[in-house]
Symmetry: C2
């Protein structure tokens, strides 16, 4: 268990917009959110903004005169600022550094800062000042892969591919990694089209796989979701770079072949079960619902709920 | 659509251990994997290892005499090395930099490198040398939150909490962020115990929510899964820092109350449906299966498949 991820102070950052009571107490004792937080003399360049969770955030990009500041002066200023923030009861420092100002990273690291994350043209470092191990929230832990099981009910055929140059040429469903901000069903439809040329629409989620320390995930975890899709074009035009073969295969043949992955075989059987006894037996269907605080909509997937359960206001 | 995530060269890094044919061709023309890749004169400090996807990877931590190298010399050496790699047909450069050597980040950025990711005490930068937009795989895109719907079939009561100091004190299921490398069900059981003191065991997945640009996810997406758990302790001892209230509530009351979130209300109705007509109506159950290439096991969740479908070798 890493304390930084578990219950406590920063959980509220991730689960909603309000601080928990522990921090509200600290917040009450602080100068209040939004106000500039001036570092002491000797650290004139370093100003931070307190956050409502008891931390302070420094955006180097917003500080003037940064170009004149050398790494050693920065270190002295940061050291003095940390002392000041600590004396004020701040429990964490977030340091946001533009990539071209990265000469300030090593001096910060020598004072105990670590990378929290970095992307494109900036990095974020953190220093925990509170008691015990850090309770700061971590960064994204999962990549998301999505595949499409495109099933044609009229012909009982399913769309399958073989990847190029795998050690074993196994039949599987076309799929790939989700783009940032892309919905699960949209990834499935896009990847199926890019790999096979087949157009389709999203129907449901069929299975979810979680795998840790996945090859190629940069040490992170992998979530892999297979969706049921309904085709509305049928002429295959597959990507020669990615696929060795692509075909509409009778579902029965996919169930019978040993030349497939365990998860593909399993989902083929699920599809047969759904085809014979109703897809509601196997589907997690999708619905949009409003978020409580933001009013934004999110997508929710679960077993279809009979209408009388959706509308009921209670039971006896 | 970001080309870096979609079909093509680097997909194979993420979906399996083998390069796709496009790269195998390039690999054939290279010096072969594993061999040291020497930069030209003037860049003696910079050596890279070619990878089988047509890229080259430079580990600054493995290079000697790094302490003697100043940022300007590094930049000259890197520029010469890039020229060499480009002439050899390499399509990408990965640069791994220990945090205390971060003075080399800005010079690399001035040559076009960007952050791919950073964590703890090192960062990774990339430069795309291939044709068109970068096809390098991205970093993790999702944080994972998991909640536990702990339902006591004997009393028809469900465990609910109210978070401290939310704008609205709504009843919801206890839960929180997954630790790195933690299985979904383990997160649910751990979070329920930490928040409420109740011990439970994992039964199934009930719902999955995907939300983008979620507050507190550092610009990333949020996946939120609710699990069905079965309690085996019943005395509540809730975390005062996180929760305002915690109680065993009659499932009927949770369905009736307006003082709850839409997703909690929805899952309460699902539970009632499952309680009355069988939990197999609402569950995605879990099973471990072996990965094809690594032999490692992963966890797969889907609707329970009747035994005759699991064992069948074909149909008529």
């Amino acid at each position: 268990m890493r304390a930084s991820r578990s219950g406590g102070v920063w959980r509220a950052v991730l689960l909603g917009p309000c601080p928990c009571g522990f921090l509200a107490g600290r917040r009450g004792a602080s100068r209040g959110p939004g106000r500039r937080w001036d570092a002491p003399a000797g650290a004139d360049e370093l100003r931070g903004e307190p956050d409502r969770f008891g931390g302070v955030s420094v955006q180097l990009a917003r500080l003037g005169a940064l170009d004149r500041l050398d790494a050693a002066s920065f270190r002295r200023g940061l050291q003095a600022a940390i002392q000041q923030w600590r004396s004020e009861g701040r429990i964490a420092v977030w340091l946001h550094i533009p990539i071209l100002q990265s000469r300030f990273i090593a001096p910060a690291a020598s004072l105990g800062f670590c990378f929290h994350h970095a992307e494109s043209d900036s990095s974020t470092l953190t220093l925990w000042l509170g008691e015990g191990p850090s309770r700061l929230p971590g960064y994204a832990t999962h990549q998301l892969g999505v595949a499409g099981a495109v099933f044609d009910e009229n012909t009982r055929k399913i769309l399958v591919v073989q990847d190029r140059n795998k050690l074993k040429n196994m039949w599987k469903f076309p799929g790939g990694l989700s783009e940032p901000g892309e919905d699960i069903g949209d990834t499935a439809v896009r990847e199926v089209f890019e790999e096979t040329g087949i157009k389709s629409e999203f129907k449901s989620l069929l299975s979810i796989r979680q795998q840790h320390a996945s090859p190629g995930a940069f040490g992170k975890s992998d979530m892999y979701i297979i969706c049921r899709l309904k085709p509305y074009s049928f002429t295959i035009n597959f990507c020669q770079h990615e696929c060795l073969r692509c075909e509409w295969m009778d579902l029965n043949d996919l169930i019978k072949t040993e030349n497939t992955t365990p998860i593909t075989s399993r989902v083929a059987r699920l599809l047969l079960y759904g085809y014979r006894e109703g897809f509601d037996k196997i589907d997690f269907t999708m619905e949009e619902l409003p978020a409580v605080y933001t009013g934004l909509f999110y997508k929710l997937y679960h077993k279809k709920l009979p209408d009388n359960y959706r509308t009921m206001t209670g039971m006896n």
